[in-house]
């Protein structure tokens, strides 16, 4: 059987040209090659093996792919990997230090802020962005900050409680 890309082989525009990407992920300098069209989430998951960043909807709705890009929460399925060249990226794998859970992670455990856990990395990173800007958010502010993160099993109430508890601990 013909290989599917053979029809495109003659067209230079469709050839995958690897480009160099260098970024700091969870405090460690990483260098890799990606295509121009590679999304940041795929660079993290497929090239760097950081599969804690999840692909849920693939359409910038669900927030499961949320990472911190230079400290700001972004949906890594809607950022080209090359746009993160030189940047600092924090994924959920960068949250626990020396085996000790981050206070937001601990609060999610203690307040039953997760059930299946699929949305949890994104929830935690969105919460980290919120708490960095507003260390004592109201419940309304927490709910607004989670607008871009969908949970399909736990429900939002325990998640809001977890973030409120984490805020109290940090304050």
């Amino acid at each position: 059987m013909a290989r599917p890309e053979s029809a495109l082989a003659g067209n230079p525009a469709h050839r995958a040209v690897p480009e160099a990407l260098s970024l700091v992920v969870n405090g460690e300098r990483r260098s890799l090659e990606v295509e121009a069209r590679t999304l940041l989430v795929h660079a993290l998951r497929d090239s760097l093996g950081l599969t804690g960043t999840h692909v849920g909807c693939d359409t910038s709705q669900c927030g499961a792919c949320t990472v911190l890009l230079d400290g700001a929460a972004v949906k890594s399925c809607t950022v080209l990997a090359l746009q993160a060249d030189g940047a600092e990226v924090t994924t959920i794998e960068g949250f626990a230090t020396d085996g000790a859970l981050h206070p937001i992670q601990r609060a999610f455990v203690e307040h039953h802020g997760l059930q299946c856990g699929f949305c949890t990395p994104g929830m935690i990173l969105a919460a980290a962005d919120l708490l960095a800007r507003d260390p004592e958010p109201s419940d309304e502010t927490i709910r607004r900050a989670l607008r871009g993160n969908l949970c399909r099993c736990t429900g939002y109430q325990p998640i809001v409680e977890a973030i409120r508890a984490a805020a109290g601990e940090a304050a």
Binding site: A13, H14, R15, A16, V17, E19, E35, A36, R37, T38, L39, H42, D58, T59, S60, Q61, G63, T66, L69, A72, A73, V74, K75, C77, T78, V79, L80, L82, Q83, D85, A126, D129, L130, R144, A145, R147, G148, N149
Partner: protein, 267 residues
């Protein structure tokens, strides 16, 4: 969903970016919150993306009674910008704070959104009500486009090939003016089913613009409710045209009331 193969460049200056945008089928990429999404759907398949996101086109500045907003200013930055605390400009921050979600506001830019021209995007209504214009540059040329002339239809603007929207320019309304934005959102997408922005001036006169209800955002000329009754309104399975017309009347009233209250604050 992965975009079609594409070339990528990241110019170091606006001039270099304009030169790159002169290439056939080149698209400027800022925060990517519109462009990357449509590239993933392969609705857009540019040959070249010109990453302008690190150019010095972000930030706000008030000079000689005019507010300049760099095209790369994000919604997150607009939402907290001190320049927008005055009642006359409050609609800009109020609108920016309610766009999309936290992650989208961190990346999405005012220039990118205007150039994308989604007929349900919020900010165009505010800029229309404030009588704003934009600066469009291409290699060797620069022109100003009034926002009322910028939108030509769904996802269609007056920007030409190779033209880059670099700044938004708002004449600061007289002291004693107030502005506001109000909308009713689709609960899943967050886009406006109907949105309205109002500017109320010290003499009581007002400008009102709407979004989400037609093929593009538009100013309501004359008495707003009469203008809405005569307007061609878009309907879909989420909100039929007559429901949208009703909602538009509601958000117009809310925006006018909030703008008038802010105008009083400024007296």
């Amino acid at each position: 969903m992965i975009p079609a193969a594409v070339r990528y460049v990241r110019p170091g200056s606006v001039e270099e970016a304009l030169a790159a945008l002169g290439e056939p089928d080149a698209k400027p990429l800022a925060g990517g919150q519109s462009l990357v999404s449509v590239m993933k759907l392969r609705v857009a398949r540019p040959e070249l993306v010109v990453d302008i996101s690190r150019l010095e086109l972000a930030g706000l500045e008030t000079r000689d009674g005019e507010l300049w907003i760099g095209a790369l200013t994000t919604w997150a930055d607009l939402a907290v910008a001190p320049e927008l605390r005055r009642p006359a400009l409050a609609a800009l921050a109020e609108c920016a704070a309610a766009i999309g979600d936290l992650q989208v506001r961190n990346r999405g830019t005012i220039g990118g959104s205007l150039a994308h021209a989604d007929p349900a995007s919020d900010m165009p209504a505010v800029l229309l009500a404030l009588g704003a214009s934009v600066v469009a540059r291409s290699a060797g040329t620069e022109r100003s486009i009034e926002t009322r002339d910028l939108f030509l239809g769904p996802f269609t603007t007056a920007l030409g090939d190779g033209e880059l929207l670099t700044e938004v320019l708002v004449s600061v309304p007289a002291a004693g003016s107030g502005s506001a934005y109000a909308s009713v959102e689709h609960p899943a997408s967050g886009f406006a089913l109907a949105g309205a922005a109002a500017l109320v001036r010290p003499d009581g006169s007002s400008s009102v613009a709407v979004t989400g209800i037609g093929t593009m955002p538009f100013l309501l000329d004359g008495e707003p409710h009469a203008a809405l009754a005569a307007a061609e309104i878009f309907g879909d399975r989420f909100a039929p045209a007559e429901y949208r017309r009703h909602l538009a009347g509601v958000v117009v009233e809310r925006a006018l009331a909030a703008a008038a209250a802010r105008a009083k604050e400024d007296e």
